[in-house]
Symmetry: C2
Amino acid sequence: MTGVTSRKRGRPPGTESSDTRDRILTAAREEFSERGYEKTSVRGIAKAAGVDSALVHHYFGTKEQVFEAAVEVAFSPALKMRDVVLEGPIEGAGERMTRFVFGLWENPVTRKPLLAIIRSAVNNEAAAAVFRRLVATQLMRRIADELDTPDAELRAELAAAQLVGVAMMRYVIRIEPVASADVELIIARVAPVVQGHLTNP
Amino acid sequence: MTGVTSRKRGRPPGTESSDTRDRILTAAREEFSERGYEKTSVRGIAKAAGVDSALVHHYFGTKEQVFEAAVEVAFSPALKMRDVVLEGPIEGAGERMTRFVFGLWENPVTRKPLLAIIRSAVNNEAAAAVFRRLVATQLMRRIADELDTPDAELRAELAAAQLVGVAMMRYVIRIEPVASADVELIIARVAPVVQGHLTNP
DNA sequence: GTCTATAGAACGATAGAC
DNA sequence: GTCTATCGTTCTATAGAC
């Protein structure tokens, strides 16, 4: 017997194992973010994680369930964004929102699930649903609730569209010069546009 | 002998056949635009065109060459855009550019190759190269040449990014309410933003 | 010009041994 | 918990008959 307390013996159900699960998730994020849903294979994830492909199915089930588990981490920072944007005067909401989004994209850790979602949502309906849930229902609608303008939801989405578009050009397709431009220069030009979408007449 | 003039006999080389080639191209555009590069199969294109898959290879070679032939039609209207945007006073360039782009997207015929390019460019490097050639080198750079502002190229690309972002939300991912909003309402909000990117201080 | 047939490879998923 | 083995499917691409 090990020197633990007097609870039930053995591992509690549902916690399963060591770090293998996390290694698979990390590998899955890497693969999905680089290749998108269709081009990523369960076998490729398994090889990158140094395990057998059957083990991936053992932990997560189908390929779609692996994807959902891999991108789930993108939701907590995204939900934080709502608070960040709404704390402080409305005149600064555009800049706070722009800075927050570029902060996520510039950080290699948070960038991966975002890339995975955007690369996959374009060709896969399940991933598109994840994208919609992330951008629209969870985020923009709540921000729109705080605007008392007509077309508030549409405005919030057009603001988001500017950010999504820059992300596409800079991080996904990598078109120059926007792909290599200093991020502060981009923020300086984009933040007023986002602000304008939210609050201009 | 047919009643033609006295040139060489038979069909000139390179023109090959009737309308089969066009039927394949139309089917290819349909498939690539709906599924993206990876999920589209040569067999699926062949079936949609009512021919054998080997015939597709016969006409175009590899799958990648089929793709290039299918999206080639997107280039002539895009090149026309440069002229449309630059004819007339610079104060109206934003609206002309916005109207032109939404005109392409709202027309089901021109929408298909655009969808094909954007759905494919996100996961396929060859398609990404097509996208870059279309958006950046052919279009935005030339428009930037006409602006005598600092960061002209970056400005032109941020303007394009707003349009790409709206296209993603409205036509690719289909997020509400922007997916169903009246196009004139969207143009009214987006055109000033595009104009601002191009000419604001 | 259009097809049949097939080579050769990769895929998702499962059953079951250890 | 981890792996071997394998089933059934689908894919690109080519060779070659008609």
